[in-house]
Structures are given as C-alpha cells and as structure tokens.
C-alpha cells in the first residue's frame, strides 16, 4: 500500500497499543474492571472507578448505537477538505463505553440519522500501520 495518507494518525501510547494493534486484525479490544465488570474507554493503566490496577482486556463485537452525531461541512484541517461533508459521531458500544468515530456508508444528511439507531463496526485500513474503527447503520 502506497503511504500517501495525509490526515492525522493515532499516536499510540504504551497503554493503548493493544487497542490499535487489535483493529489491524479487525478485533475490538476494550478494558474492563475485573472487580466491578465496568468497561472503560480510552485505555488507561488503572480503573477510573475505584483507583485500582485491576484492568482486563475484553474483545467485543462493536455492536453499538448512535449516541450523537454532527455533519462537518468546513474541514478543520486541510487534509479533510476532500472528505466534507463527513459525519462525526459518538458511538455507544453495547458494553457501555462511548467512543469517538465516524459514520460511513450513508449519505450525510440529518434525515438519515436517528440518535439511538443500531450500528455495526467498519474497519478502515488507512495505511500499513493503522486501521481506524468506523461505523455504519446496522
């Protein structure tokens, strides 16, 4: 794959490598507290709820619902100029955590979106090192 991708790429930190490496294999790994079974996003070295290092990684399906969305018409960076209008979204995984993403495979018009609508994951390889996790209507 020729690497001419100009948009911002993730800069993984040690505690989030597992998340980004998973996406390359079309797998979604998120963290869960082994004491309370609460999920959290983004990856951290501790459980945000009770201040302990009892985190485990769990593979989830990516089945989710639309929590909120917005349609970007004015590119925030030059590298997004060819993408507008595109759809930003906060997506609620069925396990609970909310993650930032885009909704793809649908015309960017408010009439096509309903908050609460069911979503499925789409794995988008942007270069040889990174896969982004986007979503489409289920």
């Amino acid at each position: 794959m020729k690497d001419n991708y100009k948009k911002p790429l993730p800069i993984p930190q040690p505690e989030s490598d597992k998340f980004w490496n998973g996406l390359k294999k079309k797998e979604i790994w998120i963290q869960r507290c082994s004491s309370t079974n609460q999920f959290q996003f983004y990856p951290r070295t501790h459980c945000m709820l009770h201040n302990q290092n009892d985190i485990e990684w769990v593979k989830v399906s990516g089945d989710s619902t639309l929590f909120t969305y917005a349609i970007v018409y004015q590119a925030p960076m030059h590298s997004f100029v060819d993408d507008v209008p595109y759809v930003n979204a906060l997506v609620k995984l069925n396990e609970g955590p909310i993650i930032p993403s885009n909704i793809v495979d649908v015309e960017p018009d408010p009439s096509n979106f309903k908050i609460g609508m069911k979503l499925k994951p789409v794995f988008v390889n942007v270069n040889k090192n990174f896969t982004l996790l986007k979503f489409r209507p289920a």
């Binding site: 911002p8 930190q13 909120t68 970007v72 925030p76 993408d83 930003n88 993403s101």
Partner: protein, 386 residues
Amino acid sequence: MPNFNKLKNLSGKMSIIGVSESDQIGKVPEKSPLALHAEAAVNALDDAGLNLSDVDGLFTAGWSTLDVAEYIGIQPRYTDSTSVGGSSFVIHIAHAIAAISAGYCDVALITHGQSGRSDRVPQEKHLGIPMIQFEYPYGIIGPPSSYSLACSRYMYQYGEDRTRNAMAEIAVSTRKWANLNPKAYFYDKGMTHDDYHNSKWVSWPFHLLDCCLVTDAGAAIIITTNERAKNARKKGVNILGVGEGHDHSMISQMPDLTKAFGTKTGPQAIEMSGISINDIDLAMIYDSFTYTVLVSLENIGFCKPGEGPDFLLEKSIIPGGNFPLNTNGGGLSYTHPGMYGIFTIVEAVRQLRNEAENRQIENCNLALAHGTGGLLSSTATVVLGS
C-alpha cells in the same frame, strides 16, 4: 454541595480596579500577541491609576508568565499560568483573590493577548494527549466539531426546533448589542433571523452564525484589596463569588453532553456571594457558540435543564430587554481571539461602573460572568457587585 463557609470569608474582600482591551481589537496583524498583552496591561494599569512597578502578581494563559512578564517589564513575586481554555482568565480571578488573601501578592495583573486571526506561529498541542490519539484521526478536531456533537445530543433530548429558535435568537440579539459597541467587529453590520437560518453550515447543527469570531485582541484586569482599592483612580468593583473546575478534556469523555461544569461553578459562585440568582442584573456568558450560551444559562441555574429555549423566549435579551445578556456583542459579534473569557469581565466591570456608553443598562448593581473553556471542558463563574 461542598461546604462553602470558608470561601464566604473571601467574598467581597477584593476589588477589580482596572480593566481594558488592547488599543485595537479585531484585525491587528501589525502587532504580536505579546504586544497585545502589554498594551492591555498598560491600559488597565492606567485605568486603575497604577504603574507597572506596582504589579507583583501575574496571571495569564496560553503563555508562560516568564515570557509575558519579561516582555511587559515586571518582576512578579507570584505567578499563575493555569491554562484550561477560554475560561482561564475568569479562573484567574478566583486564584488572584486567594493569592492576595494569603499574602502572596498585593496587586494582581491578569493579561490576555492572542492573534487568532493574524498570528505568524500557530499554537500546537502536545501530540501525546488522548484527544489527538482518539479523536483527531476521525476529524473530530477543534471547537465547532466538538460543540456540535454536544448540541446535536441536546436537540435530541429537548427538541430540535425550539433549540434552533433559541440559538437564532441568541445570534440576532447579540448582534444587536454589537451594533451599539463601536469596538465590536460587527458594529456596522446587522443580522436578521433569515440571515441566521440562511448562513452556511459549518458543522451541522451549527450554521456559520452560530459560531464565534476569530480575531486578534488583548485585555487585562487589575485586582487588589478593598483597602488598596480606595486609592485607585475609580471606584472598584467588588468580587463577591467565584467558582471553577472541569470534568473532561475531549468531547467524547464529557460525562453528560448537555451539562457542563457550570452546574457546579454557577451555584458555588452564587452561594459564596450570598445573593439570589434572580438578583443578577447582567449576565456575561462566554458565547463560543450560540449553543454555549443556551446550555450555560441552564447549567448556572437561571432555568432548569432543557428549559433554556423557553426561558430565552419569555425573557427579552435584545437591548432594552429585561434580561441583559452579552451586552458587548459577545464572542459572536464583538471579538473572539481564541480565548475570550477575560472580555466577559471587562464588560461586566464597565456596566457596573456605568461606563458602557450607548449600551449601558439601567441600575446595574450585580453582574455574573461565566467562562467556558476547551471543548465544554472547563468553566468558571464570577459574581461582581458595584
């Protein structure tokens, strides 16, 4: 709610004795951001009847106090560069009264200078932060895309049409106030409801006219004890209550998209002041977007969650109306260099001192200023009394 009894001892003990903008605001490509800091500082000191050598505490955001103090030419014995977005300068008021009360300094200077429109060197974020890792790759970048995600959720919860009408009313009324302020970027330009609804989309649900300006501007504030304020050039404006805090950085981590931290800082500032929210004569609410005003009014407690649109229709926020709001023309139509919070204080002080000329409101004795910073991340509320 936490116990504010200790905080109440600080209520009314300090005063703002000087405020000013830089000489010019708006399009100022011929001046650096540091020059805007310095101009505003000198002007505010002149307003207070003090000299640079009187300043022993320096508060600023977006810059190191090292660089700002060196450029202005002061040697502070206390500094604070808390930088949590546009609310920072409102937060600095809370920090200044604490520092003065503890004896760390006697005369606090808060300065701001930013060339959002003309800067030769754009400010960069630290590349290692989670926001850049998790949101930037998707194009969730900067205030319009983040605030629009929150507004979209608000519309879903409380109704799109009534929210839209309220946002239009905020845009048009704020412009009417700007038309009374010669320093306002849009002093000479009117706005109708049709103009609002016909303006292009930036990030749906935001039209262009939902969004603040991007300008060059500086401003400064001088704070000291009431004792020392007696010798100032003009009567001081009393600092009655303060509140500050934040609950997230990037928008996807906001605990409740329709409730910013103003739900904490508003009630704290009012409680500390010992006043009722109904006593407020002027509300200066940071308007990065029309939506920011709507949600802030609810958060502070002027009305209940989701009732902002009804509140705005019942009240009248145009000049001459019964709920004076953003009388300088706001970030939407007066000026917004990137971090606007300090200008809410400058205008509140002018109204309380009866210095607001054409746009002076009647019987202004109590003003509330409210800053929002980051991506609805941080807020600060200050209550001021004449």
